[in-house]
């Protein structure tokens, strides 16, 4: 049989996403944040349905209700943990050591395992609510062992001043992939960490220069000037490492024995999307803020001249009008919330959307005819959804 290769189409467009994001995030603010679970659900539905491997869109089947419920459960658990734990830490820290540095530190360290735990659980939830060709994805429950591994690997990365990073990336990705399912077929991460080294060389150069500059700075202050060169190199090298690691590791993933993948996102494109995206976000924000201020000025001038027919508002500048004062507060609130809403919406439109487009359009599935043998898996109830990640604000872009 021929090796059937499935290309991925992308159907997302800025306009519909902009209105969806604007509507849902306005509702989120109006409901004091409660609507955010439905906002996330709806935005994900949009993004998932935009990605069409082999012409069939992914489907996101999560619901806002289950997210809210998961959040409530997580809040109760975490409220107890954080409230009592922080209090005891604060007490011990001041009683025994007469300062609060240890308390803050311990409070932070105590959250690290929960952070990784929550990350894994959130990923499992998202996979359990993702379908393609009517078949569910899934992940095994391994959140605590993931948290444990992730902490050790991160510790190794930090102690090695970042040298260990490629190996850490590979081992965590392998841990996750080897526990991921599509229907009743398991994914497998083949290859090894050394295949990431080629894409890591700019990262290592940047890292080496930065460490040299840092150590040299102790001897001679002027060595610190090297940071101007080394930090951008490190940052771009890091992005390059992430992009090439994604490429290599995706190419080395297998679904069962016969289905493979091929990804070719490009670092230049990813960087370009970031730079252009954030430039456009900034530009739109500045323009809309200028527009808002202009409107405010016009309204104020009209009020003062009594053009709108409210005499009491005219008293704004004489300091007598109470209603005029409230109008100013309302205006300030509008600008404040408007800024944050717009920031989030524009980021989805100008950064997340083109980034997903690039990653989607450069993804191929090899051996697609073998998919026919893959059967459905049972529904993973997972009633806590991504509650822990949500409660801890572990920011996923979508």
């Amino acid at each position: 049989m021929f090796d059937q290769s499935l290309q991925t189409d992308y159907a997302g467009t800025r306009g519909p996403l902009f209105w969806l994001a604007l509507k849902t995030s306005t509702l989120t603010v109006l409901t004091l944040g409660i609507y955010r679970f439905w906002m996330k659900t709806r935005i994900r539905r949009y993004f998932w349905s935009a990605i069409r491997p082999g012409g069939i869109a992914l489907e996101y089947s999560g619901t806002g209700v289950e997210k809210l419920m998961g959040f409530l459960v997580a809040v109760v658990v975490l409220a107890f943990y954080i409230g009592v734990f922080n209090l005891i830490l604060m007490f011990l820290s001041f009683s025994l050591l007469n300062n609060n540095v240890v308390a803050y530190l311990a409070s932070f360290v105590g959250l690290i395992p929960i952070y990784f735990y929550a990350r894994y659980r959130a990923r499992r939830y998202i996979l359990a609510r993702t379908r393609w060709r009517g078949i569910r994805f899934g992940a095994e429950s391994a959140a605590w062992s993931y948290a444990w591994r992730a902490m050790l690997l991160w510790l190794a990365t930090i102690l090695s001043l970042g040298i260990y990073l490629p190996r850490q990336i590979f081992r965590l990705e392998k841990f996750r992939t080897d526990r991921t399912w599509y229907g009743q077929q398991k994914f497998c991460q083949t290859g090894n960490w050394k295949m990431l080294l080629r894409g890591a060389r700019h990262y290592y150069i940047g890292l080496g220069l930065t460490i040299t500059a840092g150590l040299g700075g102790f001897v001679n202050q002027s060595m610190l000037g090297l940071l101007v060169l080394s930090l951008p190199w490190l940052a771009i090298g890091f992005v390059h490492l992430r992009v090439t690691a994604f490429r290599r590791m995706t190419d080395a993933k297998r679904l069962g024995n016969d289905i493979g993948f091929c990804a070719h996102p490009r670092t230049g494109r990813v960087l370009g999307i970031y730079l252009l995206g954030y430039f456009l976000v900034g530009l739109c924000l500045v323009m809309s803020m200028v527009l808002l201020i202009l409107i405010a000025v016009v309204v104020m001038v009209m009020l003062q001249s009594g053009a709108l027919g409210y005499d009491s508002f005219g008293a704004l500048f004489s300091g007598k009008g109470k209603s005029a004062e409230y109008l100013v507060y309302v205006g300030i609130a509008l600008v404040y919330f408007g800024f944050f809403i717009l920031l989030g919406v524009l980021r989805q439109v100008f950064v997340t959307l083109p980034m997903l487009r690039h990653y989607a359009e450069t993804l191929e599935i090899r051996g697609g005819h073998h998919l026919a043998t893959i059967r459905q898996r049972p529904r993973d109830e997972f009633s806590e959804a991504e509650g822990f990640a949500e409660a801890l604000d572990i920011g996923a872009a979508i």
Binding site: G33, S49, A50, E59, I82, G83, F91, N98, Y336, F339
Partner: protein, 375 residues
């Protein structure tokens, strides 16, 4: 009867049965049967799949208008992807509940119960558990620990109130003023046994307020000295703050907020402006808890004044005047955390046991020196 598209103009769509990851090319036909209108999906072989139009649902928030994905009511994973615009229009016309997505009615009851339980347990943690624990710990905390906590907080407050972020708010320490202040404290305090020294500070700020911090810090603002018309009024306010020190209220409060701020941050999450709401909520919780503490400190102050042979009615005078003057918001913050001023004034007047010919706490010159401590 065929409602749409006969065999001569077949319309095809992609069908996935929700059991295998296969995309079936199916011919779609809409027919009227005795059990109502039905969508027939003809596979290349075998019996056609029948979807009653009442069960057909259209997926929501889908990207791209070229293809519409349909499913069935409930959790069934079978999907139909239609790219033919006229078929999509026809389905839209014939399927009555296309956009009815009430797939979680059974969850609603659980949601209500869970919300109530969650609110109750978080309230229990924030309003009962954390304060109870904080109360216990405040008593257990060694004096040195309390002092360290107070020092750290005092520094934070001075930095927060400073004009620019690099400096601290100025401490007022004109020598004559300090001497007057010490005399005042000495009159109030003989025989009172604190685990640590009272450390009295005047900060150069126009706010009309005073407060106590853990470890015996008592802080007054210049605005308070300006507002007061006699040293006895200041003595009353100092007595009140000493009451807080004696009851270890500031330590309690600091421990409480260490516990509850994190919890509230969790609840309010990351929506825009969350920080503002967090601050206000925290204030409200503290306010609710401090009312009792404020009344207790007032009583403590009355007793302290009586022992020092000073009238507690001067304290009442101060609140009376402040209440009259207060046309703007400067008292608003005070009101939230303190008992009703009318009740406070009445309590101060009622507690007074000292006749009007008492020995003044400071002479006029000393009083002026105290008022000028920031110069």
């Amino acid at each position: 009867m065929t409602l749409f598209m006969d065999a001569e103009m077949p319309v095809f769509a992609d069908f996935m049965d929700g059991d295998a990851a296969v995309v079936h090319r199916v011919r779609v036909a809409l027919e009227d049967t005795e059990s109502g209108k039905v969508v027939y999906l003809h596979l290349t072989e075998g019996e056609p799949v029948k979807w009653s139009v009442r069960d057909v649902r259209r997926l929501r928030d889908q990207a791209g208008r070229d293809a519409v994905t349909y499913g069935l009511a409930g959790e069934h994973p079978a999907r139909l992807v239609v790219r033919d615009a006229s078929l999509n229009a026809e389905l839209g016309r014939l399927c009555p509940h296309l956009d009815r997505h009430n797939n979680t009615p059974h969850l609603m009851r659980r949601l209500v119960i869970l919300s109530a339980a969650a609110i109750a347990s978080v309230a229990l943690i924030v309003f009962v558990l954390v304060p109870k624990l904080a109360d216990q710990m405040a008593v257990l905390m060694p004096a040195k620990g309390e002092q360290a906590l107070g020092d750290a907080t005092f520094k934070q407050i001075r930095e927060a109130l400073a004009q620019n972020s690099t400096t601290q708010l100025k401490l007022c320490d004109a020598p004559e003023g300090k001497a007057a202040l010490e005399k005042l404290v000495a009159r109030l305090l003989p025989g009172t046994d604190f685990p640590y020294d009272i450390r009295l500070h005047v900060l150069d700020h126009k706010m009309v307020n005073a407060f106590a911090l853990p470890g015996g810090h008592i802080v007054m603002f210049r605005g308070l000295l300006n507002e007061a018309q006699s040293a006895e009024e200041i003595a009353g306010i100092l007595g009140h703050e000493m009451g807080h020190v004696e009851h270890r209220d500031p330590t309690r409060l600091a421990l409480r907020s260490a516990g509850s701020v994190g919890v509230l941050g969790l609840l309010l999450g990351d929506f825009a402006g969350g920080a503002v709401v967090l601050f206000l909520t925290e204030r409200l919780i503290q306010a609710k808890y401090s009312q009792g503490a404020e009344a207790a400190s007032d009583e403590y102050a009355h007793a302290l004044l009586a022992k020092a042979g000073l009238p507690s009615s001067r304290m009442g005078d101060f609140f009376r005047r402040l209440g009259k003057k207060d046309k703007d918001n400067s008292l608003l913050s005070h009101l939230a955390s303190h008992p009703d001023p009318v009740a406070r004034i009445a309590a101060a007047d009622a507690a007074n046991t000292v006749a009007d010919d008492y020995e003044r706490v400071l002479d006029d010159q000393e009083w002026q020196a105290l008022k000028g401590i920031c110069n």
